[in-house]
Every structure is written in structure tokens, then in C-alpha cells.
């Protein structure tokens, strides 16, 4: 009977066999595997729950308005003040400098790898960039403090502090170059060859074809790579802790020390904030802010990625 059922056209090839022990086994395995996949959903819910729980407690003590508009952050030292703007500004400063470094260099590298490099050069350069992506962030932090900052001091003199935003921004920029280059290259790779050949046929040079045909055609994927890289820079922790220091700062001067949101979270964790204290709750409020910011950036970049995949794949 089972065999007859299987031969029907359009029948589900995965239909259970009718053998009771076998079917039970199949159902158990199906359930176990589903549980593995659902664990990721539970993780997300747990993150949101944990962040919300303490954040709610935080906003019972501090007004939301003060938090989002205050210009002074002093969570650990009296008199306490919880204006998030200096931490957000420190984060924007570091991520902004990182973007200025990583976006042009990463895009240039992507154009070279996708449009110019022959197979042999590609097979050397691509893995090298992948290694760059695999270096732990603590190593980048060490490099910033021991190499980039002293060299900045040589060039710009005493204005450059031992902790400074520029050094942190540069090193985070180097860190996210591979992210921009590899995702942008994927997007350019997906552009059909016929578009390029059409442009050559009209007399375009390689420069014309790259900048006026390939880059516009791959634009949504390229922009997605920029946003993902910036999101990664916003969430970057150890390199920034080591290089930028822990001074909440609204200054425009990149040679000064800044504290990012991530650096504040680490600062609280290094001390021993008791559960329920205002600094412990502030850690979660800042964590929530960071989570919402990076999530928004990631969602936007995924929507953009889905768009270029729709067009060319």
C-alpha cells in the first residue's frame, strides 16, 4: 500500500512509511532538529528580555528625556549624570573615522579584485584580506596603542593624547576593510558580463566601465557592505577600549580621548557593580541603545542585499 501511494505523481517523497517505529524515529529527529533551529529565536528573545528588564528599572530612576538629550555622562562618579550623547558622539567619531578609511579603500580593493586582478593575483590577495578579517580585535588594539598612536604623535606633536579617537578610528577602519571589500566584490561579481561588454562596445575605458556601469549596477550591495562595516565599527569593543580610553567627550578634536558605548559597558564590567545598582542598570540601558542601533543598521543592509540578489540572481 505504501509503495502504491509513493508512485502517485506529485506525491511527497518524504511521506512517512507507515512503519510505526520508523515513523516515530523520523518524528523525533524532526522535532530535535527543529528545537536546534528554534534555539536561535530563543537567544534573540533572551537578549531582548535581559536588556529590557534592567533598562526598565533604569528609566524608573532616570528620565528618558534626560537620557537622550543630556550632554554629560557620569555614571560611576558623583554627582551622577546620565546623558547618553557623549557616548553616542564617541561612537560616531570612531565609527566615522573608520568609515572614512575603510569605505574608499575597501571599495577600491573590491573594484581591483573584481574587475582587474587576474586569477593568480586574486588567489594571493583574497586570502590575505581574509586573514586581516580573522585577526582578533585585541591585537588591533595593541597595534593602535604601540604603533599608530606613537606615529600620530610624531606627525602631529603633543596635541595627540596617549588615548585618542583618531588612533582608534584608524585601527577599526583597517579592521573592517575586508568586510567592505569582500561584500562589495560579491555584489560586483553578480553584475552580468553583458553589461560590461555593452559599455566596451560603446568605446568605454576600464575606468568608465567600472565607475559608470559596474558600480551603479551593484550599488545596493555596495551600500549594504558600507552599512554592515559601520555597524561592526559601532559594536567594536576591545580595540576602542585600548586606544580611545574612557573619557566621555563631546569634543570635535579627534586627538582627545573618547568613550564609546561599548567602552562604557566594559568599564562597568571591569569594576564590580552590584546587581540592582544604578551603574549596573546603566550598563543595560547603554547595551539596549547599542543593540537597537546595530540592529537597525543590519536590517537596512539586509534589505539592500536582498534587492541586488533579486535583480541579478
Amino acid at each position: 500500500m505504501a509503495i502504491a501511494a509513493r508512485n502517485r505523481p506529485g506525491h511527497d517523497p518524504y511521506a512517512l512509511t507507515g512503519n510505526r517505529t520508523r515513523d516515530l524515529g523520523e518524528r523525533v529527529i524532526h522535532g530535535l532538529l527543529l528545537a536546534c533551529a528554534l534555539l536561535s529565536v530563543i537567544t534573540t528573545l533572551a537578549i531582548i528580555y535581559v536588556l529590557l528588564e534592567e533598562t526598565v528599572g533604569f528609566f524608573q530612576k532616570v528620565s528618558f528625556f534626560e537620557y537622550v538629550t543630556g550632554t554629560k555622562w557620569s555614571a560611576l562618579i558623583e554627582p551622577r549624570s546620565f546623558g547618553i550623547l557623549p557616548l553616542v558622539w564617541g561612537t560616531i567619531m570612531v565609527a566615522g573615522i573608520a568609515g572614512v578609511i575603510a569605505i574608499p579603500i575597501g571599495l577600491g580593493a573590491a573594484v581591483y579584485l573584481s574587475e582587474y586582478a587576474d586569477q593568480r593575483v586574486r588567489s594571493i590577495l583574497k586570502p590575505t584580506l581574509e586573514i586581516l578579517a580573522g585577526v582578533p580585535t585585541i591585537v588591533y588594539g595593541f597595534f593602535a596603542v604601540n604603533w599608530i598612536t606613537p606615529h600620530l604623535q610624531d606627525v602631529f606633536g603633543d596635541r595627540v593624547g596617549f588615548f585618542n579617537g583618531l588612533s582608534a578610528g584608524i585601527v577599526v577602519g583597517v579592521m573592517v576593510i575586508p568586510m567592505v571589500s569582500s561584500l562589495s566584490e560579491d555584489a560586483m561579481h553578480a553584475v552580468p558580463q553583458s553589461l560590461r561588454e555593452g559599455a566596451y562596445g560603446l568605446g568605454g575605458t576600464k575606468f568608465d566601465v567600472s565607475t559608470r556601469v559596474v558600480i551603479p549596477a551593484a550599488l545596493s550591495g555596495i551600500v549594504a557592505s558600507f552599512i554592515l562595516a559601520l555597524s561592526r565599527a559601532v559594536g567594536e569593543t576591545m580595540a576602542v577600549v585600548l586606544a580611545a580610553g574612557s573619557t566621555p567627550n563631546l569634543s570635535l578634536d579627534p586627538f582627545q580621548s573618547f568613550q564609546t558605548m561599548t567602552a562604557f559597558i566594559v568599564q562597568v564590567a571591569l569594576g564590580d557593580a552590584p546587581t540592582g545598582s544604578i551603574e549596573y542598570q546603566a550598563l543595560f540601558a547603554v547595551g539596549m541603545t547599542l543593540f537597537v542601533m546595530t540592529l537597525a543598521m543590519n536590517v537596512v543592509s539586509q534589505l539592500l542585499l536582498a534587492r541586488y540578489r533579486d535583480v541579478y540572481q
Partner: protein
Amino acid sequence: MSAQPVILTSSNRQQTRAWISRSFTGGTFLCTLAGVVALSVLLYQVLDEGLARLSKDFLTTLPSRFADRAGFEPAIWGSVWVMGITALLTIPIGMGAAIYLELYAAKNWLTRFIQINIANLAGVPSIIYGILGLALFVRAMELQRSVLAGALTMALLVLPIVIIASQEALRAVPSSLRDGALALGATRWQTIRGQILPVAMPGMLTGVILALSRAIGETAPLIMIGAFQYVPFSPGGVADLPDCASWSDGCPLKSRFTVMPVQIYSWAARPQEAFQQTAAAGIIVLLAVLLSLNSVAIVLRNRYQRKVKW
């Protein structure tokens, strides 16, 4: 790659255009080199600073207030324990989730939701996982600052990466294999275990190794759950594992711990030059471990690509 178009230049304008195109080529090449140069400078700087400090003693002694006597042993064993438990937790769960999503899940809203959710989790900053671990494992489950709390936190962190890499490996298996097995009357699980997994396994393992090697370098989440501490001992050996049945103090999973990147941070955060050298020596050890793990992954990938021909 298409052939370079022949440019017949006579006018100035065409020469200018050809010149712009050539400089653009050079510019993009320099951009690509920038990454390579940065990597070389970084490695040179670390080796230059740390090689002199590297010795057998460094690997086998305890940390110390004195930079020239500070050793790496507890951090090395801490990393081994945390990553070992993390691997045990992530490999079955990550591969299971990937198998479900690729081979079982119907194309409905739930599957799409899980998939989007995993992509988003992969983009959550690692320090957020640290906050989760602090609130959930260290405080709520009262695991304190133990190896187990660290491993559970790291497992959640690497799970999305393992799932995505395993899914890619499963997608590379041709569907003819599956169709053949099903046509012969195998059940779905028999098909997966007998036909699909053996082919996909090397690819999945490559992904797992790369994900774990990322986790070995992670510092922030473990600082969050309290791995930043003076730990003058290693978590113990495999022989102590029976103590875990009663969760008594001899259990290595209950032990306080530090790991390589956190120990490096504690040295690098000190102003003294001698501690910077010690940090550099630690970095050399960490990078050596990462490099060997990556080589294993590459060898595995190459062997797998050579062997399987359709």
C-alpha cells in the same frame, strides 16, 4: 575577464581618458595592497616587540605582578577548556539547526523568520552576548564566573556563524544524491545520515573550525562575564571531570578562569613597556594557535574539493 579593449588614440581627449583609466587601475591596486601592508606592519610590530619575551617558561608559568616573570599558562588552559566546551555545545546544535533549515523546513513564514533571525544574530555585537551571559548565566543561573558560564556565552555567540557555514556546505551537495536515496525507499533521516552528511561533513567542519577560531580571539564577551581576574591556577584536568557530577569545587567547569585574549588585554592595558612586551608575546602565541586552526580548515577544504567529483 574580458580582453582589454584596444583604444585607438589620436586626440588629446582620448589620451586623457586612457590616462585616467590607467591611474584608476593603479589606485585600486594600491587600495588592495593597503590591507596587505597593514597586516605586514602589524605582524612585524608584534614580532619585534614580543619575540624576545617568548620562551618555554612563558608558556608554563603563572601570571605575575612582575612583567619579566609573568606567564601564560592559566590563560592557555582556560582557552582550551572554554573552547572545548563551546565546540561540544555548538557542533551538534549548529549542524542540527542547519540540517533542519536546509532539508526539513517548509518554505513558510516560520522558516523565513528563523533565517532572518539567524542573520541578525550574526550581526549583534559580541559585547551584547557578554551582557546576556552576565545576566543569564552568571547571575540568574548562578554559575558565577565559571568556565561553564564562559562556554555557554561563547556557544550562543558562535552558533549563528556555525549554522550559516553549515547551511552553505549542505547546499553544495547535489540534490541527485538525495533523490537517488529517496527513490530507493530510504526515509528522510536515512537519506541525510547515509548520503548527505558524509559528503557535506568536511565543508561543515571547515565552517565550524573557522567559527571557533573567531571565538578564541573574542575578548569583550568574556570580560563581561568576569574573566578579567587574577587567576593563578589552571582549571584542572580531564581527570577532574567526575567532580562535575556533584558540581563540587574540583570540577574544572566550575573553576574560575581567564583566557588568552583577556590575559593579553590585562597586560596591554598597563602603561609599563615591559608589560607591552609580555602582551606581544601573548599575541604571538594566540596568532600561532589561530594560524594552525586556519591551516587545518584549509587542508580540510582542499582535500574535500579534490576528492568529490560529480
